[in-house]
Symmetry: C2
Subunit: 655 residues, 2 copies
């Protein structure tokens, strides 16, 4: 069905002009204690550190973020009251790492301490700033000459995190692993690896430690461009637009959002992306608390090729880079026409505030879904559903992750993670699988292009869910489903029964998913009962998931120990935020959840935090090349006896 | 945010008037060998059976459906050529069941055979037609008097399938289990069970076999209405409409659909709903086959209360009723404004054609999803996704199931199943969980209202997926992911590797899902290689799933033996369509997949059918009452080396 392409395009453009509303974060003063730092506040941090005499030309600031006020202070706070503003500043001085707390209003450093035996996150200059230095290295140049590459201008060398494997090199230096591509003739380098070559870079001494050359493989030359100029586009389909002529159905005040009985606040953190806080629901006249705070906590992406230039690819992305969030959203393509956009302000490694336009978008979606329905004796009753989506995209190297926080009219919150981007590929001598007779070239991946093998890998996303169900005194309940045999006289031999078990300590809440031994996971407030006598609660609905297959003694698995279980529960501590620890770069294993829970602390009837990890295995396919179709995974938070009845019962007939 | 409600409503109504386009199935002649029977054809069946002298006043036709032409005939057929039209007719004459094949054009019965030891599906008069007869029974009346119920006019008694438990009663009669409700004062009876009472009805002799009364419980009186007049609706939100001013982006010819390189045909079967057939994809100039046919095959919903009036609730819905599809879709609520609707024609138990308006809808959806994207050195490239949804809703008693077949631009097909409707509840004497001190009232469910316990249960949906990947010679491959230990000198201790294994026989393809031992499931054409040398194929991506916990010796589990495994593969046979067998009413167990696969037939390099079952456990909650928010589950079919590259690469920049 051919359509009038030009008309479609101009209609779409008209919408864009009308609809691209951005809320400028930089112009705002913080309105809520959990709002992100503003530009003014970042400058206050800059001044405070300089004034205190802590900085010189070599000083870098790998990470500056809001230092949240104590939770009880935030819970006591009422709109209009003043509130504390502090920044947590990670300061790197050569091999030394310091943590500073800055009182933003007073423009003062109030705490300054060295943190020993850690490596802060990799900063941009360690990724992109080592290109010229590496290229000047004679050993590297020799490796290039062996490959017949003499023009270095189209070669690009990137630094990346090195993992950790207990070698003397790992232990003694800040190591950056450098890999190079020859992007001659194409827009992006990803499909053009200079295979078999890696450089170990000492990021403190700014020198090459070692050039690793384990064999020459020509740079693949297959088509890898995916821009519109490189592809013959299919006909534009019949225009389909979303219109919301009276504007959005939500209200935004600063970063407070209210929509369809939901109330929440959010900020876009540089390390973990959207941090959703003070999530409450207007149940009648009662604004009831569900979550104090929820966000991504960590990402783990281990690759499965054990060869010398590949084994180290075991990224703990959020913590190792801490600058993945957010990528500017393409208006009208990455969010629908009725979206409202939010700017992000963050500081670079020189502590200078930066602006990122369209770092998040917020939109209502009503795509024909049915909230509920029944056809009974009196005909059909049904209601159309609408949901609210807060979207943000992170980019960690080759992967782009879409994070959607979706609020539903039925009291559920869904978290949807879309994985797209470009597969990590290695160059191989065999042209295709047919030529790879001994299977060695593709033993750890699949051909996605000629001489191009995309390497097998996993993705794990840990979410920190600080539930406050009707207050902070919560417990975690497993509803275990188990078979109940029936007596011989009963025609049925078996049923299953759901038996609730309260987890008393952290050890009892380290949980695996297992279809053969199912359990529902619930956070309840044991002190608040529903009208029918149940403790009010929310369930974590895990969705499709995967678990790591790496051996427990393997360093990558120890370093990302949070993936040992799909679910953990801890008592709330303000300094326990990152599932693989605060400093995963070259971490030796055991940090974060394994360390915190080793004390097996009590978690019953107290303020608790749930950590859920969702993951998937990825065996690449030709369809993932040269750019991957988005693959979605999701989990949901689901009211269980929190409401007295279906909270979507009162949806209007014609929405 | 208050909105102008009246304006919103009239805008919505205007859209409805414009957009509700229905394709009248009854007016059409069949255009494709797999089109459903038309009204003219149903009348031909009616005449043929009558003319052959097979029918008298007691004759019923529990099931009349298209008898598909032999597969090779359909595969050879080209548009414009004549094709065979036959009907399969199940005829019930008292206790005797016959299967007839009718040549529709010749109006002749070409085959007539008795099928012994089976019970055909329950028909409407057995559900709704026994009300007066049961109420006239003195024992039933005595049971009602014991309950203080003297006015029978507001009481409604339903027949339902009895399950099978090997009792003499089960073996000797056609049993209908009757349960009664007192719907006094409310629209729907579901929340008003007359507990502890059941009637065994002999559907051949039309008499009460037995009245079961195991104790008096008052009829619950809590609020159960959910119509708009019984609820104070929330304010209508800001209007949000979908506009497609140039009409849909798909083309429909009869029941052939083409959209965005996809081509398929469909019919709405009375027993299994949407049957999608001849699914092909235009890959360049080549219209490539993916599926010959795909549809739901069976549903299993076992309840978990072992008491005398509850143990039998173990529905094998599709086969036991065979009239669940389809419920008329509410325009503008259950499908978006840009949907096109399709009428369904089927025959009732008297073989008389019936029309069901809006039995299916077809619409494009573009809800802001991102087909693919990457932010690289040259900026962001991304494309907006659009998908095509074919929706149909079945109603089996209390549950409404939404079945969406979703075609995507990236070559994937998703099947999404939404479960909504009204929970099955039992009346209990305890008012709430707080009053249920010994836990007996809610041992097998949860309170959802006062004196109202919704009983725990499962849902399983078996799908029959007759893949024809580039032809009929296909194989099934498990890509098993297993740990590969690394030699001591390697810094990595482990990776996983994906090892393909071809299943040679049915036994090797009976598969459980297990997160600890993951495998990818692929159908390939071993004779057609991708440009990179792999066999072309499609993967079954299972999604979130559950497995039954019932003991293997339990009759319900034996009767729904297809749920013993999540995946089965069989060689194609035209008479193997229903996973629990053709006649699940009072079936004794073992029918369908367990029986067919007992021969352990070869399945390598032949025409194969994949059977996938997706399910979930349901422990009800107050939020599921008095009508359940839709709960979605999904699986997907995903090209793996079927295409040479990402098939969505050529999406236009501005859709």
């Amino acid at each position: 069905m051919r359509t009038l392409k030009s008309r479609a395009v101009s209609a779409a453009l008209a919408f864009l002009l009308l609809a691209t509303i951005t809320r400028p974060a930089s112009a705002q003063v913080p309105k809520h204690p959990l709002d992100g730092l503003t530009a003014t506040e970042f400058w206050a941090v800059y001044d405070a550190i300089k004034t205190a005499g802590h900085a010189d030309a070599r000083t870098r600031y790998p990470f500056i973020t809001l230092h949240e006020p104590p939770k009880d202070e935030v819970l006591r706070w009422k709109p209009g009251q003043p509130f504390r503003r502090e920044a947590l500043v990670v300061v790197r001085e050569g091999p030394h790492t310091f943590e500073a707390i800055v009182d933003v209003a007073a423009r003062k450093v109030t705490s300054w301490k060295e943190v020993r035996d850690v490596q802060p996150n990799v900063i941009e200059e360690e990724v992109f700033g080592i290109n010229d230095d590496v290229k000047a290295n004679p050993e590297w140049q020799a490796a290039m000459r062996r490959r017949g590459i003499t023009d270095y201008d189209s070669v690009i060398c990137y630094g990346t995190s090195p993992g950790y494997f207990g070698t003397p090199e790992d232990k003694q230096q800040r190591v950056i692993r450098v890999i190079c591509y020859d992007r001659h003739g194409v827009w992006e380098p990803d499909g053009r690896p200079i295979e078999g070559l890696a450089v170990q870079w000492d990021a403190n001494e700014h020198k090459v430690l070692r050039v690793i050359d384990n064999g020459i493989v020509p740079v693949p030359q297959g088509p890898v461009n995916y821009d519109i100029g490189s592809v013959v586009p299919r006909d534009a389909p019949s225009p389909l637009t979303i219109q919301q002529p009276q504007g959005p159905g939500f209200r935004v005040d600063g970063h407070q959002v209210s929509w369809q009985k939901w109330n929440f606040q959010f900020r876009i953190d540089r390390r973990v992306g959207p941090v959703i806080s003070s999530v409450r629901y207007a149940d009648g006249d009662n604004l009831r608390s569900i979550l104090y705070e929820a966000s991504l906590s960590e990402i783990f992406v281990p690759y499965m090729d054990p060869s010398e230039t590949w084994y180290h690819w075991t990224y703990i992305d959020a913590g190792e880079f801490a600058d993945g969030f957010a990528s500017a959203l393409e208006p009208g393509i990455e969010c629908p026409e009725n979206a409202v956009y939010f700017e992000q302000v963050f500081a670079n490694a020189h502590a200078i505030p930066q602006r990122r336009p369209r770092a998040a978008c917020l939109f209502e979606r009503s795509s024909g879904d049915i909230a509920w329905r029944h056809e009974g004796l009196s005909g059909v009753e049904s209601r159309k559903a609408r949901e609210l989506v807060l979207r943000s995209i992170s980019v960690f190297g080759n992967y782009d992750y879409i994070f959607d926080w979706v609020f539903q009219q039925n009291g559920s919150i869904k978290v949807e993670i879309g994985a797209t981007g470009v597969d990590n590929v290695k160059a191989v001598t065999a042209r295709t699988a047919a030529e790879d007779r001994d299977g060695k070239a593709s033993a750890y991946g699949r051909f996605v292009g000629e001489n191009t093998v995309a390497v097998d890998h996993d993705h794990y996303f840990s979410f920190r869910l600080d539930f406050d169900i009707d207050g902070t005194t919560n417990s975690f309940v497993k509803d275990k489903l188990s078979v109940e045999r029936q007596p011989a006289e009963n025609p049925r031999r078996s049923v299953w029964v759901a038996k609730p078990e309260v987890a008393r300590t952290e050890e009892q809440a380290k949980l695996h998913m297992d279809m053969a031994q199912p359990a529902a996971w619930r956070v309840v407030n044991p002190g608040v009962k529903s009208p029918l006598g149940y403790p009010v609660g929310y369930e974590i609905m895990p969705g499709d998931n995967a678990m790591p297959l790496l051996l427990p003694e393997d360093y990558p698995q120890r370093r990302a120990g949070f993936t040992d279980y799909q679910l953990w529960v801890t008592p709330y501590r303000d300094n326990e935020r990152y599932a693989a620890g605060d400093y995963p770069v070259q971490s030796k294993g055991g940090d974060g959840l394994p360390a915190w829970t080793s004390a097996n602390r009590p978690i019953e009837s107290t303020d608790i935090v749930v950590w859920y990890t969702i993951g998937f295995h990825h065996v690449p396919r030709a369809e993932d090349w040269p750019v991957m179709p988005t693959m979605w995974h999701e989990f949901a938070l689901h009211p269980v006896n929190f409401f007295a009845r279906n909270p979507a019962l009162d949806l209007p007939k014609q929405p």
